[in-house]
């Protein structure tokens, strides 16, 4: 590992921490002014670092790299480690954080300072989730992410933020109980919570001394992470939290946080740990398909922009988990790509909702109308993002969905694959309804002088849309790359 790369690796955990310190050490007045720039820098640097590390790994022919943050560690330690997937995820995190900070400028007023602090902690928590290789450390960073997001949701104490945050907190606490309970049971059998050790302990779990404990362990872990990721029927908190969060926070929250806390973890579990536990995958697949269908159906009659997006998230999370639960390489790659795509398009949509909120002061779709002409950038980017969500080619969302469906089909779950694919029609349904009410339909009174939101919001919608389109168009190249890597 080259020295440069080692240094760059440290930025993932180091830079945000540095930003937090900077933010608090600077004079308050200065900090108020530049705090958002700090966040943006952190986000962009993180994206750059992810790309750099990826390039270095590729150049060195490695697929992963271990590192420790402060001091060298002993044997059996809980290290940080990056592989391609975590790099992808780190890139997503950087992207969404940047978008969130770009949105924050117009929405947060005097809360920017606290927002920056908390968002940096959140960033650290998420990076930690992406980097750790130990289930217990995973829990620790999960908790950090959780706490930071509770506070961020309730950042705006006048609104419904507290309610959303508290619901999230309660459900999250239950999830924690389940996860830790599961970890305890696993720990009893494996004696360690390193990914590799647990996987080894589970490799022949049916012949273990007490399989019941292992079963209890992975069921509890599964349930815990399902709650965290908001899969049906554990989804109750998710729309409330998304809806009540301040605009900028909901961008980050909806774009990446719950995905990191729940979905990424589940992906890791299926990919690295529960490889030999088909039951885990079967249950996950069932949850996934339920989420896909019901999440989309529930979104159809929602009346709040952000709530629609929340239910849409539930549905899309279902797709990611469906890919993961296939247990095949194609499925996993599909899930990872969908993870990335979902981060892109869902962030776009939340940025759009923020733009609408800034421009009109509401996210109630019944009160909106005909914004396409007044807010062309928002309108077009929301269409692109939604089409990507619905899996309309050639946008990015289609390809990852296709891989997932193919994987599900190839593993013999024909009916589930077909249903998952056809459920896109519900996605199309709520997409069309929202477009009709907000952008596409006739203009409503009172919104005549609405103007496009300029600056960061506009920039981030444009950039994210470009990613969605570009990723979709360049997907064949990606496929060739993956083939070159021998992954598919």
């Amino acid at each position: 590992m080259s020295a440069g790369m080692e240094f760059v690796l440290l930025t993932f955990m180091g830079l945000p921490l540095l930003m937090v310190l900077l933010n608090n050490l600077l004079k308050k007045e200065i900090a108020q002014k530049i705090c958002l720039s700090l966040g943006i820098i952190a986000g962009i640097v993180q994206m750059a670092a992810a790309v750099f590390v990826f390039a270095s790994l590729k150049a060195a022919g490695q697929t992963e790299a271990d590192f420790s943050q402060f001091w060298d560690l002993g044997v059996g330690a809980s290290r940080f480690s990056v592989d391609f997937f975590s790099l992808l995820v780190l890139f997503c995190i950087g992207m969404v954080i940047t978008a969130g900070f770009l949105t924050a400028g117009k929405t947060l007023g005097d809360k920017k300072f606290n927002f920056t602090n908390l968002a940096m902690i959140l960033l650290l928590g998420m990076n930690g989730i992406a980097l750790v290789t130990d289930l217990f450390s995973l829990y620790v960073f999960l908790e950090i992410t959780g706490v930071a997001s509770f506070v961020m949701i309730s950042l705006n104490k006048e609104g419904d933020g507290i309610e959303g945050a508290f619901k999230y907190l309660v459900m999250s606490a239950i999830a924690t109980v389940f996860i830790l309970g599961g970890l305890a049971f696993l720990f009893m059998q494996s004696g360690s919570l390193q990914y590799g050790d647990v996987a080894a302990a589970l490799s022949d779990w049916q012949y273990a001394e007490q399989p019941a404990l292992l079963i209890a362990g992975f069921v509890l872990v599964l349930v815990g992470f399902s709650i965290k990721s908001g899969v049906m029927p554990f989804h109750g908190w998710l729309p409330d939290a998304y809806q009540s969060a301040p605009a900028a926070v909901s961008v980050i929250l909806g774009g990446i946080v719950t995905k990191m806390a729940g979905v990424y973890a589940l992906l890791r579990l299926t990919a690295d740990i529960f490889v030999n536990v088909p039951v885990f995958n079967q249950i996950l697949m069932l949850l996934a398909i339920v989420s896909i269908v019901l999440g989309a159906v529930a979104a159809i009659t929602q009346t709040d922009f952000k709530r629609i997006l929340a239910y849409s998230s539930i549905s899309q999370i279902g797709y990611i988990l469906l890919g993961a639960s296939c247990g095949s390489a194609v499925g996993l790659i599909g899930a990872m790509l969908h993870f990335f795509n979902h981060a892109t398009f869902k962030t776009t949509l939340f940025v759009n909702s923020a733009a609408v909120e800034i421009a009109t002061g509401t996210t109630e779709i019944e009160k909106l109308g005909g914004l396409q002409e007044k807010m062309p950038v928002t309108g077009v980017s929301s269409i692109l993002a939604f089409l990507s969500t619905a899996g309309i080619p050639p946008l990015a969302g289609f390809w990852s969905k296709l891989l997932i469906i193919i994987a599900a089909w190839q593993t013999g779950n024909v009916f589930i694959a077909g249903l998952a694919l056809f459920a896109s029609i519900f996605t199309a349904a709520y997409f069309l309804r929202l477009q009709r009410c907000v952008f596409f339909g006739p203009a409503v009174e009172g919104l005549e002088d609405t103007k496009e939101v300029t600056g960061g919001v506009c920039l981030s919608s444009l950039a994210l849309s470009a990613i969605t389109v570009g990723f979709g168009l360049l997907f064949p190249a990606l496929l060739l790359f993956l083939q070159g890597q021998g992954l598919i």
């Binding site: 029927p233 554990f234 109750g236 019901l294 159906v297 529930a298 979104a299 159809i300």
Partner: protein, 628 residues
């Protein structure tokens, strides 16, 4: 590519240089386009062009008639759908007939249409009609036949629209009825081709009427009969009499359509299919003929407008031809064809006389015109000749052809003979009425028309009428002349020229004619008016209701068909709306209902959320116990 364009060039020039057969179609079309291209006010130039086209066509037809054979073939598409023309003695004769009538009516039209609007359109459609008719007769390929056959519909529609664009109902009626007939023909052609395995008419001969053949025969026959204007495809003709310019009536329903329809009927029954006398198909065809004769004549009897009366009479005469051909006996076929020639002549002549009356008085309604005989003597003479011919008075041509048909009908079944004789009676009665009312009796003219304005029509109009009237007489006295052309079609060794052999039948026919005269006199005595001479039949106890209904168009097949179609359409519309309901209402309600249920699940209470979660956990645990 090159080959394609080469083929196109060949296509446009008719293959190997200029071909007579090809010219029969292309020349009228080209001159039609030319006639329209000439400026509107240059009436003379346009008319000259028009007349030249018909004359050229006649010359070509004569040439072909003399040549008796010839063919050409142009690759049109694969699948044997090629532009194939062939002429044989039969079609040569038909072409000649078409050409003659085309010229005669053209001369008449030029005079008739002088100073009328839209005459250019009429010329154009007329020539196009001629081209299409020629093409249909020349066609040696079923699809080509169908092409020209259906093409006639367009010109028909156009001509009917010339009359009155504000009242397009007749044009629609004609197009719909003809369209249905032609679509049936399309089906018939397809079925016949599938049955025979080829589209080339040359290669289709004496197919048995079974399997697909039944469909092919029936549908093609329907097409032929429909074009000829027999029941039930007839009802547009009387309406057209009101709407279209009169030369149209003379040329299309009276002449071309009859010629074409019967031409095709003969082709079907004796070339394509093997129709045995006494077979089911034969009886069906005869039945159509007989019914048409009786019903159409009954309607003709009560008409009060010359053109309408002539129209119904036209329909009824088709019945004779179909009846004759339907017998499948040589005498019947020859009789039918002979009757066709005669009919075309006298009916053309009758329409032309009616046109003269209309031209001079502005009306053909017998309630307003009467006693024109003194004012228009030549016209009256022409009318009388033609009327005698159509009534079957010896020695006019109609008598001889009718006798042949009677002979064949009697041989095929008494009932058909009775129908034919009844038809003869009604024909005679209606023409007695027409002649009496319009040309004799006290002078009466429509309001605003002065007696001194009503005089004989110009020579250009009299000429065709005279020729046709003369023809009626000549073809009667010298009936060997037409029959020598017709008889070979039915086969070798037939000779029906001269006076009929069966004098009993002649006697009966003459008795029937006398009966008709007696009937007319009886009616005239009762009412004192020639026009109302048939009223005792019209208002006879049982017939009265039937006639009332008929006048209210309860029996108009078009109206019945349209009612049925409308009913069908509403059913379809209902089905369509039901399907639409599934999309617009059911699907939407179902999904939003489901969605609302799911929303109720999230009622905002965190306890509820937890409860759902725990239910989920319980479910997973159960599932796990089941799966492990």
């Amino acid at each position: 590519m090159g080959a394609m364009f080469g083929n196109m060039a060949a296509f446009m020039t008719g293959g190997s240089g200029v071909n007579l057969l090809w010219l029969m179609v292309v020349l009228p079309v080209a001159l039609a386009v030319l006639a329209v291209a000439i400026p509107r006010h240059a009436f003379a130039a346009r008319s000259a062009c028009f007349l030249a086209a018909t004359l050229a066509d006649l010359l070509l037809a004569i040439a072909l008639f003399i040549a008796k054979e010839g063919s050409m073939l142009l690759r049109w598409t694969d699948f044997e759908i090629n532009l194939a023309f062939r002429v044989d003695p039969f079609s040569g004769a038909v072409l000649l007939a078409l050409g003659i009538f085309a010229v005669l009516v053209a001369i008449y039209s030029v005079a008739f249409l002088r100073r009328k609007e839209k005459y250019g359109q009429f010329y154009c459609y007329y020539l196009l009609t001629l081209a299409m008719a020629n093409g249909a007769v020349l066609a040696d390929n079923l699809v080509v036949l169908l092409f020209f056959w259906e093409g006639l519909m367009v010109t028909l529609f156009g001509m009917l629209l010339i009359g009155d664009r504000q009242k397009p109902a007749t044009a629609v009626k004609a197009l719909v009825l003809n369209g249905i007939a032609d679509l049936l023909l399309m089906l018939g052609v397809a079925a016949t081709a599938a049955h025979a395995g080829t589209f080339m008419m040359e290669g289709i001969s004496q197919l048995p009427i079974e399997g697909l053949g039944v469909l092919g025969f029936v549908c093609m026959m329907a097409g032929a009969v429909g074009k000829a204007g027999a029941m039930p495809f007839h009802s547009w003709i009387p309406d057209a009499a009101d709407a279209a310019p009169l030369p149209f009536m003379a040329i299309l329903p009276a002449a071309f359509e009859k010629i074409l329809g019967i031409y095709l009927l003969v082709r079907i029954t004796f070339q394509f299919y093997q129709m045995v006398p006494g077979s089911v198909m034969s009886i069906v065809v005869m039945a159509i003929g007989a019914i048409t004769i009786v019903l159409a004549n009954s309607m003709a009897l009560i008409q009060k407008d010359i053109k309408r009366l002539l129209s119904y009479s036209t329909i009824s005469q088709v019945g004779y031809m179909i009846l004759g051909i339907g017998t499948a006996l040589p005498v019947g076929i020859i009789g039918g064809l002979f009757h066709l020639i005669n009919h075309v002549m006298y009916k053309c002549c009758l329409f032309l006389t009616a046109g003269s009356v209309e031209k001079q008085t502005g009306s053909t309604d017998m309630r307003y015109i009467s006693g024109l005989g003194k004012l228009m003597p030549v016209t009256t003479v022409c009318f009388l000749t033609a009327a005698l011919s159509i009534s079957g008075v010896p020695p006019f041509s109609g008598f001889f052809s009718k006798e042949l048909v009677f002979d064949a009908a009697l041989e095929s079944g008494m009932i058909f003979y009775i129908a034919a004789v009844l038809g003869a009676f009604l024909t005679a009665a209606s023409f007695l009425k027409l002649g009496h009312a319009a040309y004799f009796g006290p002078l009466r003219l429509p309001e605003g028309v002065k007696t001194e304005d009503v005089k004989e029509v110009p020579g250009a109009m009299l000429l065709p009428m005279g020729i046709l009237a003369l023809g009626c007489l000549i073809f009667g006295v010298f009936n060997a002349l037409p029959l020598s052309v017709i008889q070979p079609i039915a086969g070798e060794g037939y000779d029906f020229s001269g006076w009929p052999d069966n004098w009993t039948l002649v006697a009966i026919s003459c008795a029937v004619l006398l009966l008709a005269v007696g009937n007319h006199l009886f009616g005239y005595r009762r009412t004192g008016e020639g026009l109302k001479a048939a009223d005792h039949i019209r208002y006879a106890p049982a017939l009265r209701t039937v006639y009332d209904c008929a006048e209210k168009r309860y029996f108009d097949p078009y109206d019945i068909i349209m009612q049925l179609i409308k009913g069908f359409a509403w059913i379809c519309y209902g089905i369509d709306r039901a399907i639409n309901w599934v999309y617009d209402v059911f699907a939407v309600d179902f999904v939003s209902g489901l969605s609302s249920r799911l929303r109720l699940m999230n009622n905002g209470s965190v306890g509820r959320y937890m409860a759902w979660s725990f239910l989920g956990v319980g479910f997973i645990v159960l599932l796990c116990l089941f799966l492990v």
